[in-house]
Each structure stands twice: as C-alpha cells, then as structure tokens.
C-alpha cells in the first residue's frame, strides 16, 4: 500500500515485534483492532437480545431442560486451552521459532475442531429433543447467539489453516507474521466472547 514512506516512524521502529516491522502491517493490525470493536458490538446486540428473550420459552423447554453441564464445561475447557496454545504460537513466533509456532497453531486448530464438534453434538441433541430454532424466542436467541460464536470459530479454523499454509510456503516474514498475529487476535477475542456465553447463557441458565 501507498503510505509506508511518510508515516511518522516510532522511535522503536525496527526493534519492535516482527509483525510491526512495516508500517503497512502495523496499519492493518490497528484496523483489525477496530474491526474487533465492531464485532464486539455485534455480539453485545445478540447478548442483549438473549437477555430480553431468555425467559420467553413459549411452549418449549427452558434452559434447565436443555443445558448439559458436562457438555458446556468441556467446551469451555477446550476453547480456553486453545487460546493458551494460540498464545504459545505467538510467543514462538516472537522467538523466531517457526516450527514451534506452526506446531502450536496445529494444536490450536485441532482444539478448535473438537470444540466445534462438541458444540454441534450439543445442538443435535437439543434438536432431537424437539428444542429447535423454531420452538420459542428463547431457543431462537440461544441458537443464534451461540451459533454466531460457533460460526466465528469455524471461520477462524479455516482462516488459521490458510495462514499455516502460507507460513509453510512463504516462511516467517513480517507479512506472514502479521497475518498470524491478526488471526491470533481474532482467536483470543472469540475466547473472551465465549467467557460471556459461558457466564450469561450457561451459568445463569443453570441458576434459573
């Protein structure tokens, strides 16, 4: 892009982390932070909808009937662990250890896949019990909120795989480092969203 040569260079330029080497990449990371702000508002709106509607169970089951403690506890454990391994990947990247970095990314992706599998099986069990998107406002809000998070995670898995391929082809450069860093930001963000889902949807649901 066009602007690299006139951005005021920070005093630390050249000595910072690898993903901030070029002004261009720094710009994109900043832009991604702003994107995360928009995504946060998106989830906030879904949480608000859920909060308004979660007592509106109509003729369908309520939270207590469909939430399975072992299931969502396992999902939480897996996703939080994946955030940790994702952090380890970034750590290895900053130490220039491309092999470890990629290995931790693979672990993260596998954990992500197993999270999605657990979530899908939870959804399938719900639907088999007759708790579907069409049953009640509560279930519409539940499936949409948790499903939107799940869709984000699925996209993250595909995305991280693509970055992994690019790392293998193009080696660890400031550009690939920036890409890996951005996908890791995304991944951690989804983890934070999950903590809210865990608290507001599942824990409060169990207490209701």
């Amino acid at each position: 892009m066009a602007m690299a040569d006139f951005l005021v260079k920070a005093p630390s330029a050249g000595r910072g982390p690898i993903e901030y080497t070029h002004e261009d990449d720094a710009l994109r990371i900043f832009g991604f932070w702003v994107f995360i702000a928009t995504d946060m508002v998106l989830f906030a709106s879904l949480f608000a909808t859920y909060a308004v509607l979660y007592r509106h169970v109509g003729h369908g089951p309520g939270p207590l009937q469909i939430f399975d403690v072992t299931g969502f506890a396992t999902e939480t454990f897996i996703l939080l662990t994946s955030s940790f391994t994702c952090g380890l990947s970034t750590y290895s990247m900053h130490r220039g250890q491309k092999g470890w970095m990629m290995a931790w990314m693979v672990v993260t992706i596998l954990l992500g896949i197993s999270f999605i599998s657990f979530e899908l099986s939870e959804f399938i069990t719900d639907v088999a019990q007759g708790a579907t998107l069409q049953t009640s406002a509560f279930l519409s809000a539940f499936f949409t909120l948790v499903g939107t998070h799940g869709a984000h995670v699925s996209l993250g898995i595909v995305w991280m795989t693509l970055i992994l391929i690019q790392l293998a082809i193009r080696d660890l450069t400031p550009t690939t480092a920036r890409k890996a860093f951005v996908v890791s930001l995304y991944w951690h963000f989804l983890d934070i969203v999950w903590i809210f889902i865990f608290t507001i949807v599942y824990l409060l649901g169990e207490m209701s």
Binding site: A2, M3, F6, V34, A37, S45, Q134, S136
Partner: protein, 655 residues
C-alpha cells in the same frame, strides 16, 4: 410445463401495472443505451481498467457521487409520485399497496442509498487530500465497500420490477414485516440489500477511522485537522459502533422470515419491540452519521467564503464529539409511545434535548465565522447560509418532539414528517450539495455554472418551505404519516395542495442541477489554478483534478489551515519553496476482485430473496474463494519511479 413457467413468471415479475411496464421499458432502454454507447465507442476496456477495477479513493468517490445522484433521482421520483397522489382528496393515482411500496422505497433509498453514498463520496474525495495522504488506509477494502453498496442498491431497486417492492415502511417493523403479514419477497429484498450495503458501510467506517488516526501528514496533530476531517472521524466512530446493531436487527428479522425463528413474532415468546429498539439503536446514530459530515462541509465552506478562520475551532470539535457520544442515548425518542414508563422516557427526552446544545453551539460558531468576514456569495456559500434558518426550524421542532408527553400527540403525524425532512434535507442534502459545488472543481477541474446553480438553488429552497411547512400544520390537524388518501371533509385539502406544489418546485430545482452539470461539462469554466475559491486546506494546494498519487511530496504541517498559512507566507514574500527531492511512491494495484466479489454478493442476496438455497450456497462459496484468493495474493502494490512522478508533475507545471 408451460403453465408452470407462466405461473413462475407471474410471481417473479411484477405484472398488471402500466406504470411498472413503463419502468420496465425505460430500464431496458437505458441498459441497451449504455451497452450500445460503450460498444460503439469501444469503451468496455476503458470502463473496466479506469473505473470498475480502480482502488483510487478519488475515483471511488466520484462513483459514489454518481450513484448518489442517481438514487436521489429515484427517491425523488418516489416523492413526486406520493405528493401527486396526495395533491387532492380521494385521488386514485396510486393504489394503496403501490403507495405503501413507494413510501418504503423512498425512505430506504434516501437514507441508505442516497445520503450514505453522498457522504461517502465527500469522505473519499476529500479526506486523504485534506490530511496529506496518498490514499485511504485500505484502498482494496474501500473498493469492496463501494461495490457492495452499488450492488445492494441494484438489489433493492430491482425489486420493483422483479418480485415486488418492500412495503412495510423504511423501518420495516415486525410483526407487519414478519412472514405472517408480509409473505412476498419484497421484505427479503429490503433485508438483504441493507445487510449487504451495511457490511460495506462498516468497512468504510473502519477504513476512515484508521486513515485519519494513522495517516496524517507529519505535523498535522489532531487539533490541526480541518473540521471536515474531524466530522468524518466522528461519523466513522458512530458507524463503527452503530452499524453492527443494524446487522443484528436485520439478521434476526431475516431468520424470523426465512428460518421460522421467533425473535419478533407475536406467538412463542417473540417480542416485536426488540426489533424496534435494535433498529433505532442504529437508526438514531445513523442520522448523525449523515449530518455530521454535512456540518463539516459547512465549516469548510463558511470559513473559505468568509475569508476567516473558523470561529471556535475547539468548541466545534468538542461539540461534534459530544454529538457522537450522546447520539447513542436518544434512540427511545422514536417510540415514546411504546410506554416504557416515565423514568425511561424522561431519560431519553432529556438526552434528546441535551444533544441540541452542541448543535446550537455549532450554529453560533458558523454565524460568528461569518461576522465581519468578507463574504463571497458563491453557490456553496448560498447553500450553507440557507441551511442555517432551515436547521434552526428543524432543530426547534425536534426539541418539541423530544418532550415525551407532547410526543404522544405528534407521534407518527405529518408534524414528524415535516421535522425530519427539514433536518435531513436542510442539513444533509443542503450540506452535500454545498460540498458538491465546493469540491466539484477538485474532482473534475470544472467549476459548475453559477447562474443555473442559482436557479436550482432558489427553486429547491423555496420549494422546500412550500412543501414542508404546510406539513407541520397538517400534523397538528391530525393527518398521520403513510396515509395514501384522505377525504374531502378533513380540511387538509388546501395544505396538501400547497405541499405538492412545493414538491414539484424541488423537482424542478433538481432538473436545473442536472442541466447545470451537463452545461458545465460542455461549456463550464475550467479550474486551472487548483485553488478556485482561495481555499484554506491542503486539497487546494494540489492541481485539479489531483494526480493519482495526490502529493508528489508529503507536506509538513505547521498549523491549522495549512494551505492558507503557506499562501500567507508567500504573500509576505517568503517563497516557501519545495526543495525536497522526489522519492519513489508505493501505490496499491488495481484489482477486479472487489467488483467480482460484490457481484457474488448480489447473486447471493438475490437467491436468498427467493430462497433458492442451492444458488445461494454456490454464491457463498464464490465469496469465500474470492477472500481466500486475496489472502494468497502477495504482490498487491507497485512503485512509481521518480521519473514518472517528475514527468506527471511537469505536465501539471508544478516542478
């Protein structure tokens, strides 16, 4: 088989209305005309290389401007049709259903496909030039934003000949807009078109926020930024925090309609008021998104044509930021009648009254900027001055509406209609027209004809008052919005008649603008200086139109009104000579993918409208593949050599 095809076609195409047939014919004629002209003059390659694949913010801005003017025409025709139907009692010019469709598309198009692209046009053309940047932060994303908007606009517009237009009002409230009461594909068109353009708008918000925060020329601190750039920064912040809420509102309603969910249904626990809340959590900030850049334009225009520094710069900035923040705390005033209780209604009433204060501060600052200035009455200044009484009335009636108990009387009456047209036309449209006249020389190197422009101005401005002042009266007399006709004995006939005359006058004003543009392209005065208005900000330091890399050398900024400071120094005989050598410039490559990606979004949206899921899936895969291809693309920019830059600058006579 043939019967099936007939049955399909009779639902797919809108049949049986002579006006729609007329529209069909004119659309086909226009398409054939465009194809013929492009083929005859062998311009297909030129169109693709210069426009469809461009990532240059100036060209994208010009395309936004053209699209906005076309949509102003479409929305304006809707308005003329509605006013013609209401010119006398018991008219049967439009049927009730047709009237419903027209007021829905009028509102939707004017807000999302006219006002939004118009502000994006100004933002794109001006902001990088004002802050001394060579493009926006993400030029490729910028092209995606434009094409998503463009194809979303096409998706909404196609609905009136294929499938049927949306008819539940521009706010599209459930349960009326739900599947129970509105089975046709019209509402799907509305939801998907808005969703697609919303993605583009959100990306634009992010893009300009990053551009303004990170790409200002050295020395341009935040408090040295031109006020238009400040207004765009404030609008971008609102976009970032408001548009995701619209995304959610539209998605949930779409899930209700297509997947049988129960967010906003009446049964099974749904709550229609949740949609209304979500819609206005976006909708109220949205009106500030479209009016703040207009405020920014007025600040530039008033300072330039008064030949004075803006009065109260810091308070201008503070009031814009205050508006941006408070705009998120006023949404309930759109439905005080929901009955949320005195506590909630009081909070939102008071917030609404408070937001009038920073707006008032800005009006006084413009007046004080003009005070003792040497005012030159060119077209931009004319629109800026006309804006002030207009907005004063609109603001005062807004404060009247904000009084919650009284609002129960005004709610959904023509009083409200008159109020919001007064602020949206008087604020946004006047502002955008002022900006268009002001920066037209910068975009095209042509100064728009003053004489024809004055005809347009007086027709539009007088027509505005003739059209909308009677509507305040009508509101008091009990006429509610969205009525397709009324009976003789109501006592509304005279005021409605006058109002329609005003609408026709505004239509004539628009025709004058079209004539003016055509005339000026052929015979208009050319701007050879790059600074026809004796401007104050950096965009006027460049030739008109600016070279594609904008600045051959990035300027160093020493204070506010950067270009004025340089000119002052030159007038005092201190020749500020640009002696720094040229340096190679990195420029982004053009790309056809934003266009292709947006076509795929269009196909996706269109097939979702008719629930053709296999085709929607294919289009969705196409979208994913486009994104993946971009991710694997590493050669995304090129370098302009010093020779090329010198060559271009010599052609402008600027070395």
């Amino acid at each position: 088989m043939l019967h099936n095809a007939e049955n399909f076609a009779s639902h797919f195409f809108v049949l049986g209305n002579p006006m729609i047939y007329g529209a069909d014919v004119s659309i086909l004629l226009v398409i054939f005309g465009i194809v013929f002209v492009l083929t005859y003059y062998k311009k297909w390659g030129w169109l693709w290389r210069e426009w469809l694949t461009t990532v240059d913010h100036k060209k994208i801005g010009i395309m936004y401007l053209i699209a906005a003017l076309l949509m102003l025409f479409r929305g304006g025709v809707d308005a003329i049709l509605m006013r013609t139907q209401l010119i006398m009692p018991n008219m049967s010019f439009l049927k009730a259903q047709h009237y419903n469709e027209i007021f829905t598309t009028h509102g939707t198009i004017m807000i999302l496909f006219m006002a939004m692209p118009f502000i994006f046009a100004m933002m794109n053309i001006v902001v990088p030039l004002q802050i001394g940047a060579r493009d926006v932060a993400f030029p490729y994303l910028n092209a995606i934003s434009f094409w998503l908007f463009f194809f979303a606009a096409m998706l909404l517009n196609i609905s009136f000949v294929i499938g049927g237009s949306p008819d539940a009002g521009w706010t599209s409230y459930p349960p009326l807009a739900g599947i129970t009461f509105d089975k046709g594909p019209g509402e799907n068109f509305y939801l998907l078109a808005l969703q697609i353009t919303g993605i583009g708008s959100m990306a634009t918000g992010i893009n300009f926020f990053v551009t303004i925060m990170k790409m200002r020329a050295p020395g341009m601190t935040l408090m040295r930024m031109p006020l238009f750039t400040w207004s765009v920064l404030a609008a971008s912040i609102i976009i970032i925090f408001a548009f995701p809420v619209l995304t959610v509102a539209l998605t949930l309603l779409l899930l209700d309609r297509l997947a049988g969910a129960h967010f906003f249904t009446i049964f099974d626990g749904g709550n229609p008021m949740m949609y209304v809340n979500l819609f206005w959590m976006w909708g109220h900030p949205e009106v500030y998104i479209v009016v703040l850049p207009a405020f920014g334009i007025f600040s530039e225009v008033v300072a330039t044509f008064s030949r004075k520094r803006t009065f109260g710069y810091a308070s201008m900035v503070a009031s814009m930021i205050a508006i941006a923040v408070i705009s998120f705390f006023t949404w309930v005033h759109h439905f005080f009648t929901m009955g949320a209780g005195p506590g909630v209604n009081s909070f939102f009433a008071v917030a609404t009254m408070i937001i009038a204060i920073p707006t008032g501060v800005k009006v006084f600052n413009w007046l004080f900027t003009m005070y003792q200035g040497r005012i030159k009455m060119h077209l931009p200044m004319l629109w800026a001055i006309a804006f002030i009484p207009n907005f004063a009335i609109g603001g005062a009636t807004g404060v009247m509406l904000s009084v919650a108990p009284a609002d129960y009387q005004y709610h959904n009456s023509y009083f409200l209609i008159a109020h919001f047209h007064q602020v949206l036309i008087g604020g946004t449209v006047f502002g955008m027209l002022a900006g268009m006249y002001y920066w037209w020389p910068k975009m095209f190197g042509i100064i728009l004809n003053e004489r024809l422009g004055r005809w347009a101005f007086w027709f539009f401005n007088i027509g505005f008052y003739v059209c909308f002042l009677p509507q305040y009266w009508l509101g008091w007399m009990g006429m509610t919005r969205r009525m397709y006709t009324y009976s003789t004995g109501m006592g509304w006939s005279l005021w409605n008649f006058i109002s329609t005359i005003g609408a026709y006058m505004m239509g004539i004003g628009f025709v004058f603008i079209v004539i003016e543009v055509g005339y000026s392209i052929l015979y208009g005065e050319r701007d050879l200086t790059g600074d026809p208005w004796d401007g104050r900000t950096l965009e006027w330091s460049l030739p008109s139109p600016a070279p594609h890399y904008n600045f051959a050398r990035i300027p160093e900024i020493a204070g506010r009104d950067a270009w004025w400071t340089i000119k002052e120094a030159r007038r005092k005989g201190d020749p500020v000579v640009e002696s720094k050598p040229f340096k190679p410039i990195h420029m982004p490559n053009d790309s056809g993918r934003p266009f292709v990606l947006s076509v795929l979004f269009f196909v996706f949206g269109f097939s979702m409208v008719f629930t053709w899921y296999p085709l929607a899936f294919v289009a969705f895969l196409g979208i994913l593949i486009s994104l993946i291809l971009r991710s694997f693309e590493y050669h995304t920019d090129h370098t302009l050599s010093v020779e090329e830059i010198r060559h271009t600058e010599e052609a402008y006579g600027r070395v």
